[in-house]
Assembly symmetry: C2
Homo-oligomer: 559 residues x 2
């Protein structure tokens, strides 16, 4: 059939309009598929494929197949660029027409050998953007005459140029959006890990987020043992990680990739650990995990400004983080490295913050235990009293279902309840006999002294509950207590709890003027005074806590 | 000139090839400029412009001008879409040919009235992508015949379609990359603000980063006063912000936009505050700043897991953050809101962490000051001793140029230096006369008691320097001190510093058995013992610190 120039022109315009419609999409695969369809229409071919080039590995990936279903199983297959037709035309920089593919070695080495296609001719075009390979198009079983038609070949050429541009722009957009999505995930992760100072929870969050962000099979965090320099495994994720629980896993200083990374302060990326002599096989042997690829980074804590006149916590490498075995057979990319570095840096910062919090908590708790312990020691009969009262009070509070925060206040308040005794003379504290009325009057000042001590230290606002425990642990519901003779609701919950805990320890400890009471006797006294002197619910909670073995009297501990 | 069909075809192909070349770019303005050039070439026109449509404000923006230099000053100008030709063709959804622009009201209302162009004809084409307006092209002074040539019109139509697609894809890419860039900046900011627990430094970092990220003239942070509910300005940036320094700036609870935001927990975005009755003018009046637009967010601190058995710090709104006056006349975008929300959330988290650190520091420092103060009180003659020794020791250490961290250890160590006296009986501590040898032997145990107290509390590793101060503050360089009779280098720097500070306070305070020594006498004794008993550098530092008025003796304070 002879085609007139104006019909030609009309066809040409139609193809270009169709190309515009197709190019409006930013979905890469439908775009490739439809553009391939358009090319096949131009040259009246029944089948064709599109390859996309992957520079990493120098491979052509079979991305789109049209018109033939017998080779569907090859979709997604990677072909070495130097051993396939697509690679050949890209290197040649120009199209190639093959009149009999069965005689073409490059064809047979790649797609031909694997397919049951009955194609004979193939027209193969490179997709090049300013000499950069983006992929290739192969069109099969086209009429031989088409190749000799310069108009058709021009149109094919124009459409291939267009396809190249659309691939490049769509990939740029896909990449930018993927980076955007991953950065958004990273921002959320960085914010999320900052909201816990609980070390174990923090490690879990870091590991969990790292696995997801990097799409890896396993992750692990190692911290440096300050004394030996060894790396100690803190937490690991991945199916086999439970094999590593229970016993401590250590890598000696400088050994393995983790040792290298933390001592040199350099990251290590190994996409095949069989090629890396630093790899320390022992952990895999222990866990049964088979490490293929590793991205290992130092956990580099930055200088942290402390405020409150405490200067800085200096920058240092506190350990290392590993991501193992990128999923789906992929390698770690520069983008993975950058994301993991940011995550590791924030992880190191928050680990330091958690350590600081733990240190400060230990300092405060340690010093008040030490001081109140020293006060208790003044009277050999009250040795360990404050600590025991704290244990009892916390057990009561827990049994009453109070919140974790309230348990903490109860613990501190109970440890501190007698700190005011520091203002009572040794002569009274240590006196083995019963106190005179005047001496008892001095002794009864200790709750007031305690509160004044907090007040003078400007700590009343920070230790409001604790202050109440100190002030009220000798008050009684019926108003018979001291120093204020408060009644009923005037006494705070924490005051009632510590009162019961304090009385329980006093009764079950021996005194110079009387032996320790029996448990039966103690519970009987406390229960009968429940509702009059003591809060009945607190007494019941104490009885339950003791029955469950949660607390032990001095005699039970020492006996 | 008659053009043959095959020449036509050739031209057509050339234009399409050129369009492919132009479209390879992802730089929007050169791409628009070159595509406009191509369109002008098709219709043989001497000039043309491209408008881009901005949905926010419903405006057409004159983005590219070609071929005429007399209207260059209009570049970048915004035209209301309902009052210009570009807007008209977009709404009409089809091209318009105007044979005499001087008679066209829409032309005169917009570009015509402002330009000195001598154009008569204009061909105006909408750029629509699936009915969404992207902009418009106007081509001027084209030959009248061209409009009647269907091939040319088809080609123009094809190129406009192409242009529309390229604008859309390029904008998508530009937007994705801008979001990526801003997210990367946000990640860096979020990481950076987490590395300081110093409240003022933290506020400064938050404000600085917010200004940059959002491109605004001013920012401010307000925290809620727990007692009154008022919002108190913590820090502000912007030229006029220094007007707000010095005195406290408060907004009463619930007043103003900041009060609304923090009480309702909702963000407020006002692009023109004149239209918002909530706006609280008083602050502008105080500072001289003229607020136009506000983005105000609650500072919503999340629940923070504390670890160490302390439960959680509950989630709450701690205040609000404001960004004022987006620069370059822009409005706040949804993207701005999202970025500022993430920043504000992290800011609230780290402000809580800084508050926790400050609280824990205050707790520890407060309790050791209170306890050592109570011990000092046992002997009326040593009232305030530990605190004064701490002040002196820190002054010495500062004068010696020690680091902020060491100053902190010196302060804690000096406050604690006599804590071991808690283990020495009142009878000895309070005895007004000279002690017997046996009593002195008991007294000399206090450094050892102090160290044991830290040891029993398992705090030796956390308070290593402090422990050394407690152990060695009675050691002397020549070996004449106690408890170990250490010599020279065996005594730590902190031990030497606290020894001098302790001796200085003892000498300058009155005792039952002697009055306070004069300063001259004290310095003379200390200086002559410098190098034998005391570290000479420490003594010199003390003398310098006193000369500079950095420290005051008990007599100087009370006198």
């Amino acid at each position: 059939m002879e085609i007139t120039q104006s019909t030609r022109m009309q066809q040409f315009i139609t193809f270009m309009q169709r190309a515009n419609q197709i190019a409006a999409s930013t979905d890469l695969e439908p775009l490739l598929d439809q553009m391939l369809g358009l090319l096949m229409q131009v040259v009246q071919a029944p089948a064709g494929v599109v390859y996309l080039y992957e520079p990493e590995g120098d491979e052509q990936v079979l991305t789109v197949i049209r018109g033939d279903t017998t080779i569907r199983h090859l979709l997604g297959k990677h072909f070495a660029a130097d051993r396939c037709l697509a690679g050949y035309v890209v290197r040649a920089g120009k199209p190639v027409f093959i009149s009999d593919v069965t005689r073409e070695p490059l064809w047979n080495q790649s797609i031909g050998a694997l397919s049951g296609m009955g194609f004979r001719t193939a027209y193969c075009l490179p997709l090049l953007l300013q000499d950069q390979p983006l992929g290739a198009v192969e069109i099969f079983d086209l009429p031989l005459t088409v190749v000799d038609d310069p108009d058709d070949m021009t149109l094919v050429q124009l459409l291939c140029e267009r396809l190249t541009i659309e691939i490049e722009k769509t990939r740029m957009l896909i990449n930018a959006r993927r980076r955007e999505r991953r950065l958004q995930a990273l921002v959320d992760i960085v914010s999320h890990i900052t909201t816990t100072l609980d070390r174990d929870q923090l490690l879990e969050r870091i590991m969990h987020h790292a696995s997801q962000l990097l799409n890896v099979e396993a992750t692990s965090i190692w911290l440096r043992d300050e004394r030996t320099g060894d790396l100690v495994l803190q937490m690991a994720t991945g199916k086999e990680s439970r094999q590593l629980r229970g016993e401590e896993v250590r890598v000696p200083a400088g050994r393995g990739i983790i040792g290298y990374v933390t001592s040199k302060g350099e990251r290590v990326l190994v996409n095949d650990v069989r090629n890396d002599s630093r790899f320390y096989r022992k952990i895999d042997q222990q866990s049964g995990f088979v490490t293929r690829s590793i991205l290992c980074l130092p956990l580099r804590a930055p200088t942290i400004q402390l405020g409150s006149g405490a200067g800085v916590l200096p920058a240092k490498i506190i350990g290392g983080a590993q991501a193992l075995n990128k999923r789906d057979g992929q390698s770690f990319s520069a983008e993975d490295v950058s994301l993991f570095e940011t995550l590791a840096s924030q992880a190191a910062t928050v680990l330091q913050l958690a350590w600081l919090y733990e240190r400060n908590s230990r300092l405060f708790l340690g010093i008040i235990k030490a001081v109140t312990g020293a006060i208790d020691l003044k009277d050999p009969y009250t040795r360990g009293h404050s600590q025991r009262v704290a244990d009892f009070a916390v057990a009561i509070a827990r049994e009453m279902g109070l919140s974790q925060e309230m348990l903490y206040h109860v613990r501190i308040g109970a440890i501190l309840h007698d700190v005011g005794k520091i203002g009572v003379g040794d002569a009274i504290l240590k006196k083995p006999e019963h106190l005179t009325n005047e001496e008892m009057g001095m002794m009864k000042l200790h709750p007031t002294y305690g509160v004044r001590l907090l007040h003078d230290a400007d700590l009343e606002d920070l230790l409001r509950e604790e202050s109440s425990a100190m002030a009220q642990h000798h008050e009684r519901l019926d108003g018979s207590g001291y120093p204020l003779g408060l009644k009923g609701d005037e006494i705070s919950l924490i005051g009632r709890i510590v009162a019961v805990a304090d009385a329980f320890d006093a009764m079950t400890s021996s005194r110079p003027y009387r032996p320790a009471m029996s448990l039966e006797q103690t519970f009987s006294i406390l229960c009968s005074a429940g509702g009059t002197e003591y809060d009945a619910q607190c007494v019941e909670a104490l009885v339950r806590a003791h029955a469950q073995g949660m607390i032990k009297t001095q005699a039970e501990r020492e006996g």
